[in-house]
Amino acid sequence: MIPLPGYDEGIARAPLLFLLGAVFTALALGDREMSPSAAGAAASLMCLGILLLFSGRRPARFLSYCLALFFLAFFCSLFSLWRVQSFSVSRGRVLDGGEVILERPWGSSRVAVVDGGSGRYLLRLRPDQSVMEGETLTFAGEAVPFRARGDSSFREDLYWRARGVTAEVIPDELLSRREGRFSLPDIRTALRRNILLNLPPATRGYLLAAFLGVRDPSLADDHRTWGTAHLLAVSGFHVGLAAAAAWKILSLGALRRRLSFRGRILAASVLLWAYALLAGGAPSALRAALMVQSVLLGYVLGRKGSPLNAVSLAGLLLLLWRPEWYADLGWRLSVTAALLLSALAERGAGWRTALAASPLVWLATYPQTAAAFGVVPLSGIVVNMVALPVFAFLYPFAALLSIPALAGLPGGYFLAGAAEGLFLLWQWAADTLTSFIPWSLSWSPAAAAAGSAAFLASLAFGLFRPGLRTFGGALLLLLAGMILF
């Protein structure tokens, strides 16, 4: 095995972070109508420049590793850009059928994603056209290019392509039937129905979000006001909780005796992926599952990995699988927050890190959230400090209390009522906290620059020794980012 140089320096700690940065930069440059080769070369040069500028310790063969990373970054960038830019939709009439794997509101209409025999299709439906996940649809219609929105920077085509959709179809013939097969969408629909019918309102909304990634509109409004909307999207927080719960269960006396360490890791991995897919396979969930999986593999191999490298690996694999994720707000926010928290963790976890985490994540994600939603509530900084430990307890506890009601056991509704009371108590507490900080920050270039600076500085100080070189490099990177993007 090739020994890596300088064990406490950037390239040795998290080489994949530089690769991720290069591929992301190349995809963003591709949006500026640069050719794949030029965008790939520019992004790889930036990656090489960062390594040369930041690295204070340069042991033997440092330059060779840097050049190897440079060429790898170039080829990964080229591959990703080629995949994004070579996509096109053949117009024509389509007759196909398959299972509905996703159904959701979309603007003033509803959409369904159907896994057809010859591709995955997006069907745009009217609000009165009712289709449920798990149903089998046969459809005929015209395949058309994805719609472009003139009034928004949102790229609808990339959003759906990141979810594997190959074409949008306007159906003029639609035939639905339920086959009662045992499939993931069927399980999702059955669980959704069970939760909707058997749990009280707040518990219902929270468990729908945690288990199925379905957002309750009124809860979503509340959480947007509190600045904790991420709690309703299946994120690293939820996946981490699921992984911790799985590991706890697998470590219970009887199971611990029956299963070897590797067996428990394998079982935990299966449960982890089952949860991530049941919850809808959102980018944040997939990213977190990949990250936790790499940590679990590290345990099996007896190698303690770097958190930054694990997050980078997850983000990079998603980009190489479907490069369109780079434009997805969920992917961006998830990777930004996870990278920042991992960078803080590289310097050790303590009460100072815990206190700094919430404001730094708020600041680092501000440029993207403000650009997407217009305003970002300041209360989120404080409410998140309380919300994360509260929900780390509330989610598993409410899930446990809801099991009897979901299983249809007598008295189950009253047990779920206890969870409901706790959720209502949380809502009261969050409202009270928000009433002390009722202000929101709208989009401002200065605040966005501060957010980007906080993010880059956290990464730089997580990977490199604090000093003038690191500070200057972060500043240069910020300037380059502001000029380029």
């Binding site: 050719s35 056209q129 019918l197």
Partner: protein
């Protein structure tokens, strides 16, 4: 031993600094000269397997292959839907909800179901539309006076058109709440006796709100219900 230029840490540091800045400069030049120069030309390749293109299915007026059909008609966009809910909820009344809401959102807005409400007789997952009235029946109450939008009529767009019944005269599902004796007999496995039983049930007990209501008809068991499922329209 004579030290080379790159062996001296001081000069080495300067050299790497210069190389790093040079990389940034070169990257900047590339961006400056190549931005906006590349027009994305579709290669003509189809992402994924080729789409299956066929002639229109029983839609002779459909557009020919290769032409883009006009988008499906959409209702006028509204920022909020105004909805009315009555019956077994904590606070019946008129509520405003975002477009795309479903019945359970409206029920939640109205304070949730009362303990006396019958959750089986209202489809909480049903989609809503602006201006609808939803009535949640109480336990023991017959049906519900709902104008939750049903899928559009088959003759309009063919949407959710159930499969043609083998041997049926015109194809399509049978509306068990309005069908005549003769129409009911178009259902698979339904003869004159069961059709009469359906009519009698409808006269005495009212509309069939759910498919399960058909189980209350003499002669229809779970197995028959399964065979009827795809051929029955409850509107």
């Amino acid at each position: 031993m004579k030290k080379g230029f790159f062996s001296d840490p001081k000069f080495q540091g300067l050299a790497f600094l210069a190389l790093g800045l040079g990389c940034f400069l070169l990257a900047g030049l590339l961006v400056f000269f190549f931005s906006g120069r590349f027009v994305d030309r579709p290669s003509g390749a189809t992402a994924g397997p080729a789409l299956s293109i066929t002639a229109p299915v029983d839609k002779p007026s459909g557009p020919p292959a290769g032409e883009v059909s006009p988008p499906a008609p959409e209702p006028p966009e509204t920022k909020e839907w105004v909805l009315y809910i009555t019956g077994g909820v904590a606070s019946p009344g008129v509520y405003s909800l975002p477009p795309g809401s479903r019945v359970h959102n409206l029920v939640d807005a109205a304070g949730g179901l009362l303990p006396t409400a019958d959750p089986v007789k209202v489809n909480l997952a049903a989609p809503l539309a602006d201006g609808v009235h939803v009535h949640v029946p109480l336990a023991g109450e017959d049906g519900g006076k709902n104008d939750i939008p049903a899928p559009s009529a088959p003759q309009d767009s063919g949407f959710l058109r159930p499969p043609a019944i083998p041997g049926g005269s015109g194809g399509g599902a049978v509306r068990v709440n309005t069908a005549s004796l003769e129409e009911l007999q178009r259902l698979p496995g339904v003869g004159p006796a069961i059709a009469r039983a359906i009519l009698e049930y409808r006269t005495q007990k009212g509309r069939f709100s759910t498919l399960q209501d058909l189980l209350k008809v003499k002669g229809i068991g779970p197995k028959k219900l399964e065979s009827l499922r795809d051929h029955v329209d409850l509107r």
